[in-house]
Symmetry: C2
Subunit: 202 residues, 2 copies
């Protein structure tokens, strides 16, 4: 836990609360935390779920390694400490979107259980929904959309998850989607069904 | 400018674009950057503007020193470098809300022109709207809602803007609100009129 260094800071109470935003939006806000290997389809699934939700009139936003690492976390690299800080910031940011009444979808490898648990602990129970994109390493490596596995095998990228750095499989995720076996459309259907079951959307 | 350390990162293209979000929301998204001395009424004004916008059905979110410094920037203090990093992160975060179709209101002293200019440069022309809450130091110090001026004068807080650290008055803000002279209601009216004039809201 990071202790706040801001002793001179007190909380302001806004009149536009999360509850009022959710009422305006017509759905609950949650964090959908997609986790899995590089190439498991986290980002594609998050964006496809977002498209479905948009068409249902929901307010959403997808964070992925791509948009966040060029901005908020542009000062961070891929060292163990920097990865921890990256996930911490993403968690805090997703929390703000949660307060803004938005369904925040995050698509990060987030290989370490402790980092995911830390984000979970930031928000009330039931509002951090961990979705494990379960895809075998062989399948991810065969796809190798960005050519990263090849480079990792060649030793050009160090600490590459699944090759030279561990991926800790979620012990008790709210949802497992077998992205290696299902089509994108089928995976989206799974997530939407799950969100309905949880009462996030109508 | 911070150079990205993430060489292995490529941009994903989402199908739910900012334009589509703005269409769904029925208003444009912008960053309303409130700046001014401690006690100038930035946070109160931002929250009151938000209430007005909410009642008009707009999607908004207010960032202030209070909610951000307990979360995303909990690792930062008030040293010159930490203040720069604080404003950088707030800017990057506001940019993500902008992309999410939300009217992002930020209420930070943000005393340095260079920091404000850096945030301005992050987003397209016309989407960073600097609102100078112009309130004389004497008035702020007399109000002293949080008792901070008293403590700053007593030397208990170092680098306190207006007392022991400079506030650089905005040279060319999009709007000046004389929060020392106007009532909160009058100030809100000024901002709303300004947003209509800019075509942000209908």
């Amino acid at each position: 836990m990071t202790k706040s260094k801001s002793d001179n800071v007190v909380w302001h109470h806004a009149t536009v609360t999360r509850e009022r935003r959710e009422k305006l939006n017509g759905h609950r806000s949650v964090i959908l935390w997609f986790t899995g290997l590089s190439g498991a389809g986290k980002s594609s699934l998050a964006h496809a779920v977002e498209e479905h939700l948009y068409q249902s009139g929901c307010r959403t936003f997808v964070f992925d390694g791509d948009n966040v690492r060029h901005g908020l976390c542009a000062d961070l690299g891929f060292s163990p400490e920097d990865r921890v800080e990256n996930i911490r910031r993403v968690g805090e940011m997703a929390k703000l979107f949660l307060e803004a009444g938005v369904i925040a979808l995050t698509a990060f490898i987030s290989p370490f259980g402790a980092d995911r648990a830390r984000v979970r602990s930031l928000v009330p129970h039931g509002e951090f929904l961990e979705i494990f994109c379960d895809c075998p390493l062989e399948v991810c490596e065969e796809r190798d959309v960005k050519g990263l596995y090849k480079r990792a095998r060649a030793g050009e990228i160090k600490d590459f998850t699944g090759i030279s750095s561990p991926y800790e499989i979620p012990r008790d995720p709210e949802l497992v989607v077998h992205t290696g076996a299902l089509s994108l459309e089928e995976s989206v259907t799974e997530v939407i069904k799950f969100l309905r079951g949880r009462g996030v959307i109508g």
